[in-house]
Symmetry: C2
Subunit: 283 residues, 2 copies
């Protein structure tokens, strides 16, 4: 591996990306493959990296729940999860065993994405809407963890008038993820989000819930921009609809919203945000 | 003023506290007086401090909206507010004019309170329920600002079954503050909160909204403890009721909640949290 070239790994629920690149987020070469269990998924990444020479540093963007708070004794490990072969798996341990001298930085996938999408701002939130709903936050120029990490899909938005859907979250039913994730849309309307593009009612509900999500972020972490990515956010006009509903409900109250237009934006790097952010952890 | 003795000012909506003390939060002497406009309120504080000798440092805990983010050009000033005689008032400017060599640190009142209440934890949130509802956050050992600061009273909780109250927030009607502040309770039930202690329905609603607030904090800033203070939180068993409802709705999902019992607690320092926190800003 050339001097200055580093590695990134983005673990997704269904696919993993391993790459070599630079700490500014540039991907020089990447390999995408299906995510299986912890052992096998990392064996594949490690072999691919070995063929390119020993990396001096690896940034990891991991799906949750994962311990990314350095103050925790289980730092670098996957936490309790129903996903087979992941609970307790040590990501940092596996990488250090393969490459004893490597520096490893690990973050949630959504925090890595917010790093890639911050674009010079110090206070930004990122929401991704796909199989689940997750959120990452940069506040005061630093990625936010809290005790474990944000779980932005799991709070209760107010239901839209006329919405009696019970939701799909196995824990909470009609929390944000239960009402507005990709599987929620598919179950509610009997069609996948991409087949619903011409259905205004579907997007009325969807953008209403995401507008509430933005207002909840303003009330709590107070970003100056919210980036919304993920498959469900790709309908035409999606971000403008969320922003319009947000401004209607916020009633001019939040200085951070009043001072920033547009406030709700699509990602700059689309599907590359996670792997770019993984590399940028090493900057 | 003796060596090592510093000053703190806590600006409240109705009363202001000025004190001399120590950076560990110890108050040696304090003076409480009614808050009027910016000029007059600070003139009183400055005169009281002058009689005790020139302070070398002053910590200020300010009601919002106030610019506490050092990256903003209006740092240290009050932002746009309907409160007469405060919009644009420069707190840091007034103190520096009176005491040219003084070091000034300024925070929101709720962030100062979270500093006083953190008790060794790195990830803590503080909610106060009084005339309004505000929140402060310490995450990863640092007070969180975001672009301006949190406004935790102003998001939309799900309404309780049977609650058709329209709320009292002049901006948002039935946002959290509109539904659960002191004035909201008084308007809803026709009695002040302290006269409602024997009314279980009033506390069912109130603790349901605060339990949602805790869940929303877990989803966003993920604290390992939530401190709830302010007049309305002083009903017997209030914190235990909030925690019980929170655990019922969270369904074991949040590691930060599962790992910490009790999770919802009263303040250690009651009405002294703000002024103690103001002094602790100088540590």
């Amino acid at each position: 591996m050339k001097k200055g070239v580093i590695a990134g790994i983005e673990m997704g629920g269904t696919k993993t990306v391993v790459a070599v690149g630079q700490a500014d987020g540039t991907v020089l070469e990447e390999f995408r493959y299906p995510t299986t269990d912890g052992e096998e998924t990392f064996k594949t990444a490690i072999e691919w990296l070995r063929e390119r020479g020993e990396p001096r540093a690896i940034g990891v963007a991991a799906f949750g729940p994962v311990s990314v708070n350095k103050a925790r004794p289980d730092y670098g490990q996957m936490l309790k999860t129903p996903k087979p072969g992941w609970a307790g798996f040590s990501i940092v341990g596996a990488l250090k065993e393969a490459f004893p001298n490597v520096k490893v930085e690990i973050e949630t996938d959504v925090n890595a994405a917010v790093l890639a999408e911050a674009n010079g701002l110090a206070d930004v939130a990122y929401i991704t809407i796909g199989t689940g709903i997750g959120g990452g936050v940069m506040a005061d120029g630093k990625l936010l963890h809290g005790a474990v990490h944000s779980e932005f899909g799991h709070w209760f938005p107010r239901k839209a008038a006329g919405d009696d859907f019970g939701g799909v979250c196995p824990f909470h039913g009609d929390c944000l993820e239960g009402l507005a994730s990709g599987p929620a849309m598919t179950k509610r309307w009997g069609k996948e989000p991409k087949e619903l593009l011409a259905d205004p009612q579907a997007w009325e509900f969807e953008t209403y819930y995401l507008a509430q999500a933005c207002m909840t972020l303003l009330a709590s972490v107070n970003p100056s921009r919210v980036v919304i990515g993920g498959g469900v956010s790709q309908a035409e006009g999606f971000h403008a609809m969320v922003e319009e509903k947000l401004r209607t409900m916020a009633k001019g109250y939040f200085a951070a919203l009043e001072e920033n237009t547009p406030f709700v934006v699509p990602p700059l790097h689309a599907q590359q945000a996670g792997i770019r952010g993984a590399l940028m952890l090493l900057a």
